[in-house]
Structure formats: C-alpha cells, structure tokens
C-alpha cells in the first residue's frame, strides 16, 4: 500500500518512540490538531505528554534543552514547521550541538535530530522558503539529511534518531504528499549513502530532496529522446557519498549538480569544485550547476514564475552539455496545475 511522505515521517517517529523510551518528540504544534502537516498527529495520545509535547516559541532554548536532554541520556527530536524559524537556534546548533563531542575531547556526543521543513511557492515568500542545507553542511559536527521518497523519509529519519551525532533532517513541504511503498517496522537506514535513481552514460545529475523529483521528470523526458543520464539522489548532504558521485562521473564524464538552495556558496558549488579539482581528468566538458538565484523568493505568484529550477531547465542544461538540441515544450505542456504548487492536492493555507 502506498504511503505518503508525511505519513512515513509519522510512522518513523512512532516507530522510534516505541523502540526506545529515551526518544522524545517536541516542537511548536507537535500535539495540535494538525500535527505538523500530519507528521506528528496524535503521537502524544499514544506516547504521553512527557514524551511528545508542544513548546514555547523559544527555538534557541529548546535546541539547548534538546542538547542537555541528550547529554543526560535522551534522543530528542525537535521539529520546526519551517526551516526559517530554526535560524533563531543557530548558536545552539553551531556552538554547542556540533562542537560538544570535539571540544570536550570525545567525552560525549549529542544524539539529537532537528527536523526543519522547507517551504516553496504558494506565497511562502522570503522567510518561509529557504533551502539552507549548505549552511548546516558547512559545520563540522553536524549531519544533514534530505530525503526524497516516502521510504527514505521513514528509514532515514529512524537512521537520524538513532545516530549518535546531531542530525539536521530537512523535509521539503512539496514532498509531504508524495506517495510510495514504505517498509514496516524499525527500518533504520545508515546516513551517508546516496541512491542511483536512474542509470545512464550521458551525464551525471546530482540532486537532493525535491530537486530529485524535477530531475526525474527531466531524465525520463530525455530518455525518450535517446539521452540516458545517471541521476543520483544524495539523500545525505553531510556526510556526502563522494564515491557514488565520483564513480558516476568517471563513467559519464559530465556533471550537472542541482541545488534547491542559492547558487553562491551552495552544495552544488561544492560538488562541482570537488570533482573539478580532484577528478578533472574524468571530465569531458565543464561541470555545470543549477540552483536558486541569489535573491530571496518573492511572495507574489507573478514573481516566482521563473525563480525555481524545473525539469525543463535541467533537460536544457543536459542538452547544452552534450551539444544537442532537446525538446522541452511537451514537458512544460504536461503541467496541469499552477507553477507555484506541487500538485492539485495543495491549495494552502500553509
């Protein structure tokens, strides 16, 4: 039976709470009637208010609280309904969570999981839409996970909760209703392994989170035109599965790195830099990247029309790298709903 990404997150949380009494789950709205887009719905009824609870609007303190609780034996999961709210907690994430193991000589780590939901489109605007995985991935000591599929949402969340390091778990709001088969039970996927979603020899496309969905549309569209690409879903930004990326580039000789974050200082730039500096001889053409422009996302739908990287841009880029014309008009024409929603299921309000 197909399960939604959001239901898979809830399944993962319930599985973790049932498996280990030291797991606690909190965040603004965790036990409210919406249950953070359904991802925490009614968990407090099953596991009690001491283990699943709402919190004051105190992102910094509640992150430090999670760190302290973790130092005293717990495995806290803190959820932010938007990544942007978590910025109030950067001191705790960067100076405490990421450093604790190191600055105390390996005495103790901080096994916390911080879920952050990334918004996009439908007027999310400048402060509800930021895809800041590169910020977190820049900090030694943090791990950064970005699942795409419902299966990965559950298995990587379980992997994150039972990982002994602090994990930033980034969920894209546009993936919450995507459905897929999800394994039952306590299925923990270790962090740091990418997945090759499509295999081909033309171009290596590296994607993460919702960019993988756009890339899939592009890759399948290109395949019909005789261009077969390797599509790698990173799943984990830090640690990043370099062997999988390198192996693919050595096969295809071409790299297109996609990023849901901004271009400057982004993850795509890091991938291009690493491959260009360390594996230049494998490349047949200059590595390319597609990312969000270096401006905030505006609110009006009129201003977001050309903001995000979509399947047609990816297909175009692949064509340019190969020196071939590719047809993308039919790809655009297939889209039956407005550009600023992930599907007909999404009509707001947030």
């Amino acid at each position: 039976m197909a399960t939604s990404f959001a239901a898979a997150i809830r399944d993962g949380l319930a599985t973790a709470l049932a498996a280990d009494d030291d797991v606690i789950c909190f965040g603004l709205g965790t036990d409210d009637p919406k249950g953070v887009f359904g991802t925490t719905l009614d968990l407090h009824k099953q596991f009690g208010p001491d283990r699943v609870f709402d919190m004051p609007t105190s992102e910094a303190a509640m992150t430090g609280f999670a760190i302290g609780a973790a130092l005293n034996g717990m495995r806290p999961v803190l959820t932010h309904q938007r990544l942007d709210f978590a910025l109030l907690s950067l001191d705790q994430l960067v100076n405490n969570a990421a450093k604790w193991r190191f600055m105390f000589g390996g005495k103790r780590g901080v096994p916390i999981t911080i879920r952050m939901i990334i918004g996009r489109g439908w007027g999310q605007g400048p402060t509800h839409s930021q895809s800041l995985q590169s910020w977190f991935a820049h900090i030694p000591g943090l791990k950064v996970v970005m699942p795409t599929t419902a299966e990965d949402a559950k298995t990587l969340l379980l992997g994150a909760i039972f990982d002994d390091d602090p994990v930033i778990f980034l969920e894209h709001r546009w993936l919450h209703n995507m459905k897929g088969e999800v394994p039952a039970g306590d299925v923990r996927e270790p962090l740091g392994k990418a997945r090759v979603v499509r295999s081909g020899d033309a171009v290596t496309i590296v994607a993460m989170s919702y960019m993988t969905v756009e890339a899939l549309h592009a890759v399948d569209h290109l395949a019909a035109q005789g261009i077969a690409c390797d599509l790698i879903d990173l799943r984990s930004i830090r640690p990043l599965d370099w062997p999988t990326v390198i192996t693919s580039v050595q096969k295809t000789g071409r790299l297109l790195a996609l990023d849901s974050g901004h271009l400057t200082g982004g993850v795509a730039g890091e991938i291009v830099a690493r491959i260009a500096t360390d594996h230049f001889a494998s490349l047949k053409s200059a590595p390319q990247r597609l990312a969000a422009p270096d401006v905030p996302e505006a609110t009006s739908p009129a201003l977001t029309k050309n903001y995000h990287v979509r399947a047609e841009h990816i297909a175009d880029a692949v064509g340019r790298m190969l020196g071939r014309d590719v047809e993308t008009a039919s790809l655009v024409a297939q889209r039956t709903f407005p550009h600023d929603v992930p599907g007909t299921w999404f009509s707001g309000p947030f």
């Binding site: 999670a66 034996g73 001191d91 100076n95 405490n96 604790w100 193991r101 002994d164 390091d165």
Partner: protein
C-alpha cells in the same frame, strides 16, 4: 553551620584562590596558550555551591569556570593540563580554559558563548524530573546572561515544566568592561526581573561564603523536593582583568576606589578571620591547609608541564561518533 562545612568552605576558597593566583603568576611563561578568565575575588559562591550540591547533581558553566569546576569536584591536574593544551587535560587539549568537563563529578561542561549552556542545563534536568532521580541541575551564570534571549526562554520553560534547576548568578558588575549601568536600566535588580517568570528568586552578598551556603542549601533542598526551579543572584567582584592574569584598573572602566572597597571585602580573608575568631580553625590549621594546597598545585603544574601534547592527528578526531562524516 557545622564546623566541618565551615572548614571545607575555607579550604575550597583558599584552594581556588591559590590556583588562580598561580595561573596568574605563571601565565607570562607562555606555556598556557589560551584565554583564561580568572575569578579571584569571586571564590565564595563557587565554594558554597560545591558544598551545597551533591556529586551526583549536574552542573554547567560559562567562560569563567575554573572555580565552578574545582568546587564541583573537578580534578586540578586535569584542569591545569587542559589549560596547557596537553592530552592529559580534561578535554584532551581540545577545549582549554573555557571548556572544562568532568562528568565523573557531574560537571557536564562549560562553554565560551554567554548564555550558551543555560538551556543545556535545563535539558539536563528533564530526565531527572521524568525519572524522579532526586538530582538537580545547576546552571552557573554571570550577570550578562540575563541579557540574552536564551536565558529568558530557558527560565520560562523550566518554570512551565517545573524542572529541578538552580540558576546561580554571580553578579560581578561587569560584562568584559561594560558595567551594568549600560546594560540594564537604573534601579533594576536582576533577581526582581527574573521573578516575573514565576519562580522564587533570591539575592545576597556573594562574598559571604557561609551566607551563600545557607541560602543555597535551603534552595537546593526545595528544588530537590520538587518545588521547581529557583534563581539566586549573589553580588561579588572580579579583582583581575576580564581575560588574562593582570589587573586592568589602568583602563579606567572602573574606579580604583570601587576596586579597593571590594578588595577590603576579600571573601577568603573574611571567612578565614571569622573562623579563627570563632575558634573553628587556628592559624596553624590555615597554614596546614595552605601547605597542602601549595603541594597539590605544584604537583598539578608539574603534571601539566611533563604531560605530552596530543598527537597532531588528534586535531581531526572527535568530530563525529565514528570516523565517517
């Protein structure tokens, strides 16, 4: 207060004072190569807290933590070696003076960002409350901490959940060189401000070790008894410079008269004189204590000097639980 506790307070204060003065005296050798924030003049609160808390209670602190670490039972050898950057240090050379840890005595860590460990201390207390362990969590803080948002967020949550937390504020009047007058409006008292969050707060003379101990003992018992968090503010004074071994009155940010007035209220000497007057200790007892302390300090510095530095490859370890990452 029983004589034994009085003697312990005096011993601990003499020990902290002597350690800090020895660090100051030897700092110029350039073998201690990290910022150090000494607490000469502030010994009473740390010693009283160390006596009021149990070894099983947990504590966190900030950048000026030597006294808190030692009073809570931290190992002097490990602390001096840490300041020397040696592998035998309490954080194996990764932390230095501002990052002290000794979990074996419940000192869970001190960090360098003002206010940074306050929510961590609150988090430490959550399993204590859920599991009725009878422990409490002590958060050492300075007077700049109640200017940070995270402090108020943390106090609020501790009150919401009635957590067993002792917020213990040493108010020495300065944040680096900034006096309270530029950081709080005239007439405001920190303990009154914090009381607005709905917890009991107390205020007292931070240079009277026995009074601090008496207040904290009562408070610790109440917190342990399930009455929720409390905030204690004790006024005291930092003699030496904010960071480093020297005196900094030449900078002009505080008056010499103010400094001299506080120095006349030396908390160590005050307790020593009182205990001698009350015949709880003799001059000979104090001399014996000092001799024992001096020997320990000499041994600790020799240990630090003779300990090896961590191997270069240690710079790359302890980032993640396993090598991957």
């Amino acid at each position: 207060m029983n004589p034994e506790t009085s003697r312990r307070l005096l011993f601990d204060m003499l020990r902290i004072r002597s350690v800090e003065e020895t660090i100051a005296a030897r700092y110029g050798e350039q073998k201690m190569r990290c910022p150090t924030h000494l607490s000469v003049g502030q010994e009473a609160v740390a010693a009283a807290a160390g006596a009021a808390l149990r070894p099983t209670d947990l504590a966190v602190s900030g950048h000026r933590a030597h006294a808190h670490y030692l009073a809570k039972g931290g190992r002097l050898k490990a602390m001096i070696a840490e300041i020397y950057g040696k592998v035998t240090g309490c954080a194996r050379g990764k932390g230095g003076s501002m990052h002290l840890v000794d979990e074996s005595v419940g000192f869970m860590g001190s960090t360098a960002i003002v206010g940074g460990t306050v929510p961590v201390g609150v988090g430490l207390s959550y399993p204590m409350k859920l599991n009725n362990t009878g422990q409490i969590s002590c958060v050492f803080l300075g007077d700049a901490v109640p200017e940070t948002g995270v402090f108020f967020e943390s106090v609020n949550f501790a009150v919401v959940k009635q957590l067993p937390v002792l917020f213990l504020c040493e108010n020495n009047g300065y944040s680096v060189y900034s006096p309270l007058s530029v950081r709080q409006p005239p007439g405001r008292k920190l303990y009154e401000l914090v009381a607005g969050f709905g917890l009991e707060t107390h205020h007292g003379d931070g240079n009277d070790a026995r009074a601090v101990y008496a207040a904290l003992s009562e408070g610790v018992a109440a917190i342990r008894g399930g009455e929720g968090p409390r905030f204690y503010e004790f006024e005291t004074y930092r003699w030496r410079e904010h960071c480093g071994p020297m005196y900094d009155n030449d900078l002009g940010y505080r008056s010499v008269a103010e400094y001299e007035a506080w120095k006349l209220r030396d908390p160590v000497l005050a307790l020593q004189r009182a205990l001698i007057t009350e015949a709880i200790v003799t001059d000979a007892d104090v001399a014996d204590m000092q001799a024992e302390i001096d020997a320990e300090i000499e041994e600790a510095f020799a240990f630090a000097e003779s300990s090896p530095f961590p191997p270069p490859e240690d710079a790359f370890t302890d980032v993640y639980a396993s090598a991957a990452g």
